[in-house]
Symmetry: C2
Protein backbone atom coordinates (compact mmCIF):
# COMPACT_ATOMS: atom_id res chain seq x y z
CA UNK A 1 0.00 0.00 0.00
CA UNK A 2 1.42 3.38 -0.98
CA UNK A 3 0.04 6.92 -0.50
CA UNK A 4 -0.87 6.80 -4.22
CA UNK A 5 -2.92 3.58 -3.96
CA UNK A 6 -6.34 5.15 -3.21
CA UNK A 7 -5.90 7.52 -6.16
CA UNK A 8 -5.00 4.61 -8.47
CA UNK A 9 -8.28 2.96 -7.43
CA UNK A 10 -10.28 6.13 -8.06
CA UNK A 11 -8.77 6.69 -11.53
CA UNK A 12 -9.28 2.99 -12.34
CA UNK A 13 -12.94 3.24 -11.34
CA UNK A 14 -13.39 6.45 -13.29
CA UNK A 15 -11.84 4.95 -16.46
CA UNK A 16 -13.72 1.63 -16.39
CA UNK A 17 -17.01 3.45 -15.72
CA UNK A 18 -16.61 6.28 -18.22
CA UNK A 19 -15.38 3.80 -20.88
CA UNK A 20 -19.07 3.22 -21.66
CA UNK A 21 -19.46 6.81 -22.91
CA UNK A 22 -17.59 6.50 -26.24
CA UNK A 23 -19.54 3.30 -26.97
CA UNK A 24 -22.87 4.99 -26.24
CA UNK A 25 -21.91 7.96 -28.47
CA UNK A 26 -20.71 5.72 -31.31
CA UNK A 27 -23.84 3.55 -31.22
CA UNK A 28 -26.13 6.58 -31.00
CA UNK A 29 -24.37 8.24 -33.99
CA UNK A 30 -24.14 5.19 -36.24
CA UNK A 31 -27.56 3.79 -35.21
CA UNK A 32 -25.79 0.43 -35.52
CA UNK A 33 -25.21 -2.11 -32.75
CA UNK A 34 -25.03 -5.44 -34.58
CA UNK A 35 -21.43 -6.15 -33.58
CA UNK A 36 -22.16 -5.61 -29.88
CA UNK A 37 -22.81 -8.84 -27.99
CA UNK A 38 -26.14 -8.66 -26.14
CA UNK A 39 -24.86 -11.33 -23.75
CA UNK A 40 -21.96 -9.07 -22.80
CA UNK A 41 -24.25 -6.11 -22.16
CA UNK A 42 -26.66 -8.15 -20.02
CA UNK A 43 -23.87 -9.86 -18.03
CA UNK A 44 -22.12 -6.52 -17.44
CA UNK A 45 -25.35 -4.92 -16.30
CA UNK A 46 -26.18 -7.73 -13.90
CA UNK A 47 -22.58 -7.81 -12.61
CA UNK A 48 -22.60 -4.06 -12.01
CA UNK A 49 -25.95 -4.35 -10.21
CA UNK A 50 -24.29 -6.80 -7.83
CA UNK A 51 -21.30 -4.42 -7.45
CA UNK A 52 -23.85 -1.71 -6.57
CA UNK A 53 -25.44 -3.91 -3.88
CA UNK A 54 -21.94 -4.87 -2.65
CA UNK A 55 -20.89 -1.21 -2.50
CA UNK A 56 -24.10 -0.37 -0.65
CA UNK A 57 -23.49 -3.08 1.95
CA UNK A 58 -19.88 -2.06 2.63
CA UNK A 59 -20.76 1.66 2.43
CA UNK A 60 -18.34 2.40 -0.42
CA UNK A 61 -19.58 5.58 -2.15
CA UNK A 62 -17.22 5.51 -5.20
CA UNK A 63 -18.32 1.94 -5.93
CA UNK A 64 -21.98 3.00 -5.68
CA UNK A 65 -21.54 6.06 -7.90
CA UNK A 66 -19.38 4.31 -10.53
CA UNK A 67 -21.74 1.38 -10.93
CA UNK A 68 -24.93 3.48 -10.92
CA UNK A 69 -23.45 5.48 -13.79
CA UNK A 70 -22.30 2.38 -15.69
CA UNK A 71 -25.67 0.65 -15.30
CA UNK A 72 -27.38 3.71 -16.80
CA UNK A 73 -24.97 3.67 -19.78
CA UNK A 74 -25.17 -0.07 -20.48
CA UNK A 75 -28.96 -0.11 -20.05
CA UNK A 76 -29.14 2.64 -22.69
CA UNK A 77 -26.88 0.52 -24.94
CA UNK A 78 -29.22 -2.48 -24.53
CA UNK A 79 -32.22 -0.29 -25.36
CA UNK A 80 -30.49 1.05 -28.50
CA UNK A 81 -29.44 -2.44 -29.60
CA UNK A 82 -33.04 -3.72 -29.27
CA UNK A 83 -34.44 -0.59 -30.96
CA UNK A 84 -32.06 -0.68 -33.96
CA UNK A 85 -32.56 -4.43 -34.37
CA UNK A 86 -36.33 -3.88 -34.53
CA UNK A 87 -35.94 -1.12 -37.08
CA UNK A 88 -34.01 -3.55 -39.23
CA UNK A 89 -30.83 -1.44 -38.99
CA UNK A 90 -29.04 -4.37 -37.38
CA UNK B 1 -22.33 -5.91 5.80
CA UNK B 2 -24.03 -9.31 5.78
CA UNK B 3 -22.56 -12.83 5.65
CA UNK B 4 -23.53 -12.86 1.94
CA UNK B 5 -21.66 -9.67 1.08
CA UNK B 6 -18.27 -11.24 0.15
CA UNK B 7 -20.06 -13.71 -2.15
CA UNK B 8 -21.97 -10.88 -3.85
CA UNK B 9 -18.61 -9.23 -4.56
CA UNK B 10 -17.15 -12.45 -5.95
CA UNK B 11 -20.11 -13.11 -8.26
CA UNK B 12 -20.09 -9.45 -9.34
CA UNK B 13 -16.39 -9.70 -10.21
CA UNK B 14 -16.90 -12.99 -12.03
CA UNK B 15 -19.79 -11.58 -14.12
CA UNK B 16 -18.13 -8.28 -15.06
CA UNK B 17 -14.90 -10.11 -15.99
CA UNK B 18 -16.43 -13.00 -17.90
CA UNK B 19 -18.79 -10.62 -19.74
CA UNK B 20 -15.94 -10.10 -22.21
CA UNK B 21 -16.16 -13.74 -23.36
CA UNK B 22 -19.40 -13.53 -25.39
CA UNK B 23 -18.07 -10.37 -27.09
CA UNK B 24 -14.77 -12.08 -27.98
CA UNK B 25 -16.67 -15.10 -29.36
CA UNK B 26 -19.11 -12.94 -31.38
CA UNK B 27 -16.32 -10.80 -32.86
CA UNK B 28 -14.18 -13.85 -33.66
CA UNK B 29 -17.13 -15.60 -35.38
CA UNK B 30 -18.45 -12.63 -37.36
CA UNK B 31 -14.96 -11.21 -38.14
CA UNK B 32 -16.69 -7.85 -37.68
CA UNK B 33 -15.91 -5.22 -35.06
CA UNK B 34 -16.96 -1.96 -36.69
CA UNK B 35 -19.67 -1.18 -34.13
CA UNK B 36 -17.25 -1.58 -31.21
CA UNK B 37 -15.80 1.70 -29.97
CA UNK B 38 -11.99 1.56 -29.95
CA UNK B 39 -12.00 4.30 -27.32
CA UNK B 40 -14.06 2.11 -25.03
CA UNK B 41 -11.72 -0.85 -25.46
CA UNK B 42 -8.61 1.25 -24.82
CA UNK B 43 -10.11 3.06 -21.79
CA UNK B 44 -11.33 -0.24 -20.33
CA UNK B 45 -7.94 -1.85 -20.79
CA UNK B 46 -6.08 1.05 -19.18
CA UNK B 47 -8.62 1.21 -16.34
CA UNK B 48 -8.28 -2.51 -15.69
CA UNK B 49 -4.48 -2.19 -15.71
CA UNK B 50 -4.83 0.36 -12.92
CA UNK B 51 -7.26 -1.98 -11.08
CA UNK B 52 -4.58 -4.67 -11.42
CA UNK B 53 -1.90 -2.39 -9.91
CA UNK B 54 -4.39 -1.36 -7.19
CA UNK B 55 -5.20 -4.99 -6.43
CA UNK B 56 -1.49 -5.81 -6.31
CA UNK B 57 -0.81 -2.99 -3.84
CA UNK B 58 -3.63 -3.97 -1.48
CA UNK B 59 -2.91 -7.68 -1.94
CA UNK B 60 -6.40 -8.53 -3.27
CA UNK B 61 -6.10 -11.76 -5.28
CA UNK B 62 -9.64 -11.79 -6.81
CA UNK B 63 -9.07 -8.25 -8.10
CA UNK B 64 -5.72 -9.34 -9.60
CA UNK B 65 -7.15 -12.47 -11.23
CA UNK B 66 -10.33 -10.81 -12.56
CA UNK B 67 -8.46 -7.91 -14.14
CA UNK B 68 -5.65 -10.03 -15.58
CA UNK B 69 -8.29 -12.13 -17.33
CA UNK B 70 -10.24 -9.09 -18.56
CA UNK B 71 -7.12 -7.36 -19.88
CA UNK B 72 -6.31 -10.48 -21.91
CA UNK B 73 -9.85 -10.54 -23.38
CA UNK B 74 -10.04 -6.84 -24.22
CA UNK B 75 -6.49 -6.82 -25.65
CA UNK B 76 -7.58 -9.65 -27.94
CA UNK B 77 -10.67 -7.60 -28.92
CA UNK B 78 -8.46 -4.60 -29.78
CA UNK B 79 -6.20 -6.85 -31.88
CA UNK B 80 -9.21 -8.25 -33.76
CA UNK B 81 -10.68 -4.79 -34.34
CA UNK B 82 -7.36 -3.55 -35.81
CA UNK B 83 -6.93 -6.75 -37.86
CA UNK B 84 -10.45 -6.73 -39.36
CA UNK B 85 -10.25 -2.99 -40.08
CA UNK B 86 -7.00 -3.59 -42.02
CA UNK B 87 -8.55 -6.41 -43.96
CA UNK B 88 -11.30 -4.06 -45.00
CA UNK B 89 -13.95 -6.13 -43.19
CA UNK B 90 -14.79 -3.15 -41.01
Amino acid sequence: MTPLTPYIGLVAGFLTSSAAIPQVIKTYRTKHARDLSMWQLVMLNFGMLLWLIYGWQIGDRPLILANTFSIACYSFLIAMKVHYARKGRD
